[in-house]
Symmetry: C2
Subunit: 356 residues, 2 copies
Amino acid sequence: MACRHESDTTAPFPGKREHPMHILITGGCGFLGVRLARTLLAGGPLALAGAPARAIARITLADRVPPPADLQADARVQFVPGDLCEQVDNGALPLARADALFHLAAAVSGECEADFDLGMRSNLNATRMLLQACRHAGHAPVFVFSSSVAVFGGSPEQPLPAVIEDSTLPTPQSSYGIQKFIGEQLVADFSRKGFVQGRSVRLMTVSVRPGRPNGAASGFLSGMLREPLAGERARCPVAPETPVALASPGNTVAGIIRAASASAAEWRVRTAVNLPALTTTVREMAQALEHVAGRATSALIDWEPDAQIAKIVTSWPSRIHAARAQSLGLSADPSFDAILRSYLRENPQAHQWPRQ
Amino acid sequence: MACRHESDTTAPFPGKREHPMHILITGGCGFLGVRLARTLLAGGPLALAGAPARAIARITLADRVPPPADLQADARVQFVPGDLCEQVDNGALPLARADALFHLAAAVSGECEADFDLGMRSNLNATRMLLQACRHAGHAPVFVFSSSVAVFGGSPEQPLPAVIEDSTLPTPQSSYGIQKFIGEQLVADFSRKGFVQGRSVRLMTVSVRPGRPNGAASGFLSGMLREPLAGERARCPVAPETPVALASPGNTVAGIIRAASASAAEWRVRTAVNLPALTTTVREMAQALEHVAGRATSALIDWEPDAQIAKIVTSWPSRIHAARAQSLGLSADPSFDAILRSYLRENPQAHQWPRQ
């Protein structure tokens, strides 16, 4: 894979030579990583943490699987294959040259419930090792940490408030949620010490994800749209009235990039920012599918409750008052119909139903 | 050091043979560990997590320094010397036989601010390793984790609420506070998974501590009483009107033991319990010293502000509404005069001023 160094010829401060901007994305070949990389490469110069905007000279994607062909063909993209903990351990990541890290790599919620040690390693150890490596690199890079709405969980003894605020105490009901919340604490303290410029963002459940199921308990919230659009049956394991808080892939990536660009004054405090979410129900999602693709398509949803998945999903919050995100100029998707239409526009090959 | 196994001849369930109760205390030779051990040994049978009370057959103290003579002489006490992480690593701790662990070992706040790696190792790694070892022991022991009021910290951008509730979001302003808050999360998830029966209690600032200063930023809150009582000058590095939340050693140990005895139904949720605290000011503490020991003694306090210590201390909360602790039957010390009189009663050798 080629790599070209670009010198920034439009340095805003005469006499101060700006080095080429270098971005590192862990989990960079996953769904969000790829979308983030494409968005950054297609965008203009990037402002990091309130600094003047500079062109992106290189994006390094760290992952266990290779990037798609379009990113492989981009001379600005470098791929570092392997396990993240091992990569940090053996110095394979170009941390000393990274202006910003987007730490997206994680084991997902279902995996972490099934394999406790996997989650502790992939989510907790890896985040800590990456932060320590940034600290030792010594230049306090921007560190965007993808936390999750799964830090919030309700139980009969400790129900969630009706609306989640940025100041709501997380009481995670899953190992994944605990590990993400611990990651937030580490990012906060490494930031306070000046080791990184931390930006923890809590991603909402993303829908509609293209591709295949990924083992997350939330997977059906994409699958119940994606599979019927491709002419296949799909299961909805929760009751139709189940409320959910969702964000489109595009809106999610916009939030991640905004976190990286926010100045310290805009970011204000070291606690995590809840990204905005659209509150809807799975019934409304099925209705949107019917609006957009017809009744024959929405009839491909099998409403078969699964108590274990329902227990996890209903422990997640469904109403988010994302005040800090709003102060950064971010907002929720306007409707699930709009989310679904974006998915179809962005994935024209992904549906087989007759166009209307 | 001798060790005697006692069989419990009063097993409450006929036919079920109760093994002798074994308690492990990490940091067991520190000030609180020693006091906890003495209180447990002097008390009668102990109820753990709501189970029927049983006699304590053995207490193992894990620490780097040996216990005092009275504990060394007790046949029920075993001492395991060494570094906690190494002890867990090499299997030196009798975890498989421990009915309850009181995890008190920690690097204190001032040390953790000065030496980041020390805090990460002594507070985060050690807690995690101990929890993993309990998990692998397989019998879900009671695990009392001594967290701290230092999880709460205010900043100009994110001031603390006027009163701290059990549901207040901690925003730690120190590495120590972050590490303790992470410990709480680990205890919560290991409990949820059934690996331990976790009981996280947030200890308030303890005053009056006997002995020598220990490097904590809060040290002066004991030293400004203890040293003048011993005829020595002592520094108060914060302004007289500084409000503080305090608990006596006796009240603190009572809270720790109550956490171990609480049933799952009494404990209710997996988040940490704020122990009760008396709200006072350092001026009132000096006045109490004058009441109890005369003006010549309180005049030994040097009021010399230290901006760095004042910044840490004033970031701590001073008003705690300890609702969950109250529901467990715990309450704050009635006054600082009462705290000071307890100290003098318990430490008759520690003061040189003329009795009044």
